[in-house]
Amino acid sequence: MEPLARAAVRRAILVGGVVGAATVYMCMVGLVGAFAARPLIAGVGGEGPGIVTLGLVMLAAVPFLAGMTVASRLRSATTNASGALAVGCAALSGLVGGVLLAAFTLIANAVPLNGVFIPVTPTLVDILTFEQGPVVGPILLTIVATVAGAIGGAIQLLDSRDRRAILSGIGIVLLLALLKPIVDPILAGLELDAVRDFLFSAGGLSQAAAALTLALVVGLSWAWGRPAAPLRDRMRSMPAEHRRRVGLALAAIGIAALLILPQISTGFVSLVLVNVGFYLMLALGLNIVVGYAGLLDLGYVAFYAVGAYTMAILISPSSSLDGPITALVGPEWAFWLAIPIVMLVTALVGILIGAPVLRLRGDYLAIVTLGFGEIARILFGSDALRNWVGGPNGVVGLPNLHLPVLGELTGPGEYFYPVMAFAAFAAFVAWRLSNSRTGRAWNALREDESVAQATGVNTTNYKLLAFALGGTLGGLSGALFAVQLRTVFPGSFLLIVSITVLAIIILGGMGTIRGVIVGALILVGLPDALREFGEYRFLVYGAALVAMMILRPEGLFPSKTRRAELHEDVDVDDRPQLAASGEATA
């Protein structure tokens, strides 16, 4: 065998091993079993259990992605291996993965493993063998994995436009099927029963709907990517001002759609979005501290807690202070009067937390702030402060929020509008700051603290300002959280809140507001909306973050800055004119 082929085969086997290990792991922790319970695409006639389940998709997706990876490396400009070799190696990686998984199936069938690995049950074996018994099943499983790998490889042979069209088609269909619990109630609310009946049945997305969606998305994506696509070219040739306006119009439509969402869907959707809103505000606040100013704060939950407790003590009649604000102005205005106080308190806490860590950088700062976050939670739950903040029981009996026109809010889902308004406020503040003298000073601080100072930035003040403003946004989120829940107790302010918020920023793209919104939807909205994900939330977080760090370290929607920072090699290649003209002026 020639050296290239030998290296390719070796790599394919290695990737196959990873595929096998990943799928076996997914089975052992119960992912596959749980996800198999969610049908995505219904069987013929829409009756009975779905024929394509999320579990099956996951089992096929892993070798498929592996096949894509293997083939893409082989088909790159530098390697340029033959198509047959690429597909062959992709299939090989699928085969190796399939054999490993089949071996696991046989073992699980022969030895009862569920004493240690509870999810490894006969049901799981049935799922893995497609209920075809211990002989045909594993063979079938191997074939499925091999074929998935081969298809993943074959897709790399297509030119990029076709590939993008097919992949987005498959992606959208799966997403639509996955989001059935959200889309279905919305359609019901809109009384679009015909559409609803066409799209969904008990077993998931109907086959006809899946086929139609696939065709539609593939067609549209393909047309958009055509060399002379009229719509796209018109968009591109528009002057920047026009394009901005189109962007604004699209954003306005998006916002309008968001605003009518609670009217047309169930309370469940609103509830999920309210939770997304809390995290969105937290992430926007932390983004100021971490993304703008480069101060890695792992104890951000402290601000959330302080905001929530301040609000609770100020307005709950049963708090240690008997809710002074409510006593003063009554429950209608209590929240609104308390909000400025909460902002002030959290800003002060930001300065208090910031002051002792001014001299710390990077890892040291992270560890110390991590400690602060835990201290906050423990203090609020401690016996020492029991008389003020209620110890483990927290503060209860917060009055409902009264809106100026709409009146009293009774259900937790009704907080959708105020939470969205506050989140929009937070985004606005973050946006205005990012493009200002202040934002630039923060960026300079992030880039090189000593030079920032020697360029005229008062680093002490700007660090404290970042903590204070970031803390204020986190505190606002906490205050809303308190009134929405009407109860505040220490159990709400665990370390995992800080981690989730940081993960949102990293996933979305450090430093950008758009990225933070998408990050919050994916990391908070999705697990809330889809119970299967909720169960494995942290596994999915971990996998998503690891994948992001490898594939797109700059986040989903990076700022220009971050992208360049993390893809140095690409950027230099992209700008030959810069290097060349630089030579000329130098």
Binding site: R432, R437, A441, A444, T455, G456, A564, S581
Partner: protein
């Protein structure tokens, strides 16, 4: 070097009588790092609107002296008086506000900020808008932002850096342009005294000549006083009016380029190696 120069002149440098006297007076400056004496009892003055160089072999304490003047290091002993104001106890950003700006031997740009962003950070001390004004989006903020951007672009012209690069990231600039950008960033703070730490390090002869021209132009057109650390003797002899020579942390000579060239102590400590080579 064809760019038009429209940068506002520095008023301090324009007045004829301001040319008299010293912009910087250093007396008895000593810096110790634990046991090591990096600078020992240095006296040294910079006349207004002059170009002064500090030379000396590697490890002679040139950059340490620089770091103390710009407020990076606190001197162990001695005083630094800048424009009549003693610098003792002032933070680096205060020193910048008084009108001193510097560049670095190993270029230290804000790599992941745009070219214009770097210059605007340099202009930070001359801008006034506060964070809450930015959130409110006051007109004064927008106007200041526009003015500052225009000014930053003029500074790019000043250092002959194409405006086309304004939105590119600083790190993507070629080496020579990064040095120019660093100077533009320093100029943006409106300095009276500009400290350049080896501005031609790593440059080829042509780039070096352009840099020398730029330094002369900055004094001529902006009325700046410039303090230079430099290794390239051609640059030092060509551009400076006075030269201070450091060796083992001590000042061993001071004078015009001609005097320095013929000073036996200097020849022994530094140029001597070249003279005999």
């Amino acid at each position: 070097m064809t760019a038009p120069v429209t940068t506002p002149a520095q008023p301090d440098g324009e007045e004829p009588d301001a040319q008299q006297g010293m912009i910087l007076e250093v007396r008895g400056l000593t810096k110790r790092f634990d046991g090591l004496v990096a600078n020992k009892d240095i006296d040294f003055d910079i006349p207004r609107r002059s170009i002064v160089s500090i030379i000396g072999p590697n490890g002679a304490g040139k950059t340490t002296l620089f770091n103390q003047i710009s407020g990076f290091f606190e001197p162990t002993e001695g005083t630094i008086v800048f424009d009549g104001i003693p610098l003792g106890g002032l933070a680096p950003h205060d020193v910048v506000e008084l009108g001193m700006a510097r560049t670095y031997q190993n270029i230290r740009l804000f790599q992941n900020m745009t070219v214009i962003g770097n210059v605007l950070v340099g202009h930070h001390v001359r801008m006034k808008s506060q964070w809450w004004q930015a959130i409110l989006g006051l007109r004064s903020v927008r106007e200041e932002e526009e003015r500052s951007r225009a000014y930053a672009l003029e500074l790019l012209d000043m250092v002959s850096l194409s405006r086309r690069y304004a939105e590119d990231l600083a790190k993507n600039l070629p080496y020579g342009d990064q040095r120019r950008l660093e100077i533009a960033r320093a100029l943006a703070s409106g300095p009276k005294l500009l400290l350049l730490d080896e501005p031609t390090a790593g440059m080829n002869p042509m780039e070096t000549r352009q840099m020398t021209d730029l330094i002369a132009k900055l004094r001529r057109e902006l009325g700046l006083t410039i303090l230079l650390i430099e290794h390239d003797m051609k640059v030092v002899m060509g551009v400076s009016e006075r030269i201070t020579v450091l060796d083992y942390g001590e000042k061993i000579a001071e004078g015009t380029p001609q005097e320095i060239r013929t000073n036996p102590k200097v020849i022994e400590a530094y140029l001597g190696k070249q003279a005999t080579a």
